[in-house]
Amino acid sequence: MYRYDQYDHQMLADRVAQFRDQTQRYLAGQLSDAEFLPLRLQNGLYIQRLAPMLRIAIPYGMLSSRQMRKLAYIADHYDKGYGHLTTRQNIQFNWPHLEEVPDILEHLAEVEMHAIQTSGNCIRNTTTDQFAGVSADEITDARPYCEIIRQWSTFHPEFAFLPRKFKIAVCGTRHDQAATQVHDIGLYMVRNAAGELGFRVLVGGGLGRTPVIGSEIRSFLPEQHLLSYLDAILRVYNQEGRRDNKYKARIKILVRETGVEQFRDKVEAEWLTVKDGPMTLTQDEVERCRGFFHDPDYKDLPGSSELLKRALGGDVMFAAWHDQNVSAHKRPGYAIVTICAKKTGYAPGDLDAAQMQFIADLADQYSFGEMRITHTQNVVLADVEQDKLYDLWQALKTHDLQADNLGLLSDMICCPGGDFCALANAKSIPIAESIQRRFSHAELREIGKLSLNISGCMNACGHHHVGNIGILGVDKKGEEFYQVSLGGSASNDTALGKIVGPAFSQDEIPDVIEKIVSVYKQQRSGGEEFVETFNRIGLDPFKAALYGDKSNSRASRPA
């Protein structure tokens, strides 16, 4: 993991002091609400429905056990004992007091964490695939580049007041788990014919009201030019992105209005003015950053574990969990374990302080003291010996962390929605729960891989556009309705879901999901996953099942 040196520590200490001073001036009435707003947002602080909300960055998802314990401490001392993992590898606390936020930031700084640029119109936390560095099919580990981008984007003096928020994802694995194509900039790591490393550059992806899949503007950017190229993109955006209308201010709109070709030409022209200058990455810097992400001290283990085989044979519950939540590791004898924070009855992505403590202990015991947070709101222990999987699973059971639903319908992405968020049109957590309660575990396994994403409004924090099934809360004449879309995907084949038809009431949703699933079960052929069947048969069979001959009477309902 990246470790801070004296410069990083100094920068963070300066930041905490700066925000303490800003908060004091605000509380003393010397800063207006409007002046304080971007300052607090750039420290992750929203003012929400019930209290302020503090969003803390987990850069590219990496977390040490020491950091996790600190989060548990913050949950206990400054919140109501829990935190919420987000789709952008951040963690949110819903109940801190404004006056105490500088203290929280000071606690975080002790463990090399912060809330810098986790909201506001600036460059946000850079995200990546949670299997970076351990995946068997990786082009290269993206994390060193994420760290390089983190430093470049932190307090970038030119880009602190962009037209709108700006999100970057980097993906070095072949199977994209970072939703790279729906980011303002998506970077895929690639090698050219000569075997040199570089990036395929996409711009203008994003969700929100106007979901767009990013467009490629460069098929190969040699790695040493990473920062000068990013600088050039940001400069074109900062100068030309729309500022007259907040809903048209994202780079996706600029790219669309300018045209991809022309936008690329502008970026390339801007790039020529800085290319090969001091921003060019040095081999030393790349090596220095790589050095932080070297393999831990793996043991030499046989490729398959006898202990594991016996446990799988002897305990069907364990075998079910293993089947679902354990993924292949690049090293013989090791495994990647995903702890699903998706147990029915808990808000998706919520962890309480005791669970955080406990996961930190498990990381120390089983996985070299490190964890990763995923954009699907789960936690990964990336380096577990196969011999120890059975012990680990038994330990997980003691803290309600054994949910064996990774990738299944009940492993939903879900935003905080109307229970917490001031912008919500509708609640989302109770919807998630009502769906989870509808299906038995056996049914879920029989259905197989299916992503279901829920957002409480069109801001799309819950990624509903790219769920195989997407649910969006809409408000019609003060009543909460839910619009359902099908066929979305956030992976290499990124696609935006198609709306099935008029929206449903909260009570109808479990039935609706059940009907959608039965159409799939009737129509699937061979080992097709939900989204493959959908792509083959299209929307109509689902429409027929959902609206049938009632579709006329439904037409009068709000859409």
């Binding site: 040196d5 410069y7 100094q10 920068m11 300066d14 930041r15 700066q18 800003q22 800063l31 002046e35 971007p38 300052l39 119109n121 390089i148 430093q151 470049w152 932190t154 307090f155 970038h156 003096p157 030119e158 880009f159 602190a160 007041f161 962009l162 920062l227 400069r235 900062n238 100068q239 500022r243 003015t273 800085v274 200058g277 001091p278 921003m279 990455l281 040095t282 810097e285 220095r288």
Partner: protein, 174 residues
């Protein structure tokens, strides 16, 4: 429109302000009345009356609004941008960040070495970024306190990125 204030911060010191910001073009007579007055002309006026204004030598600068591109100043290939003694960039509201890119482009792409002044909604909490992007003069909003403004230069000891005031990024210095 930006108002002229009585004091400015130049190279991190408070000094009195001699520059008067013109909101719009003025006629020949009015210009003659301001013979000894340092003025900042709006871009359109400056472009239209460049030869007249240039004759005033060190007494005429130009100000760009946040949507005006620094490249507009380069009217022909013989023009040396460093003949302009002062260029000001307006921040109509502090959260309009275009001026930062304007400043960096003036310094970095156009090689401007003269005085560069931030005007308009210039507040304490943006001072550090303004300085890093190449502004050496700040004309703060009327309600700002000089002493408090000055403390902002010490907000951070250093920065990660290449910037106008520190062209080497931290990774080349650590």
């Amino acid at each position: 429109m930006p108002a002229s204030s009585e004091w400015i911060i130049k190279d991190q010191t408070v000094v009195s302000n001699s520059w008067r910001i013109l909101e719009a073009e003025v006629g020949v007579d009015e210009l003659a009345d301001m013979e000894q007055q340092a003025i900042l002309a709006p871009l359109d006026f400056w472009l239209a009356e460049r030869s007249t204004l240039q004759a005033r030598k060190g007494l005429t600068g130009v100000w760009l609004d946040s949507n005006e591109k620094p490249g507009s100043l380069i009217v022909d290939s013989t023009f040396d941008i460093n003949e302009i003694p002062l260029i000001a960039v307006n921040f109509p509201v502090f959260s309009d960040g275009r001026g930062y890119s304007t400043a960096r482009a003036l310094r970095q792409n156009l090689g401007y070495e003269g005085d560069l002044m931030a005007i308009g909604d210039v507040l304490r909490d943006q001072v550090f970024y303004l300085k890093r992007c190449g502004f050496n003069i700040l004309m703060p909003r009327a309600d700002q306190d000089a002493e408090i403004m000055l403390t902002a230069f010490a907000d951070f000891k250093t920065g990660y990125q290449a910037s106008i005031d520190q062209p080497e990024p931290l990774f080349r210095r650590r």
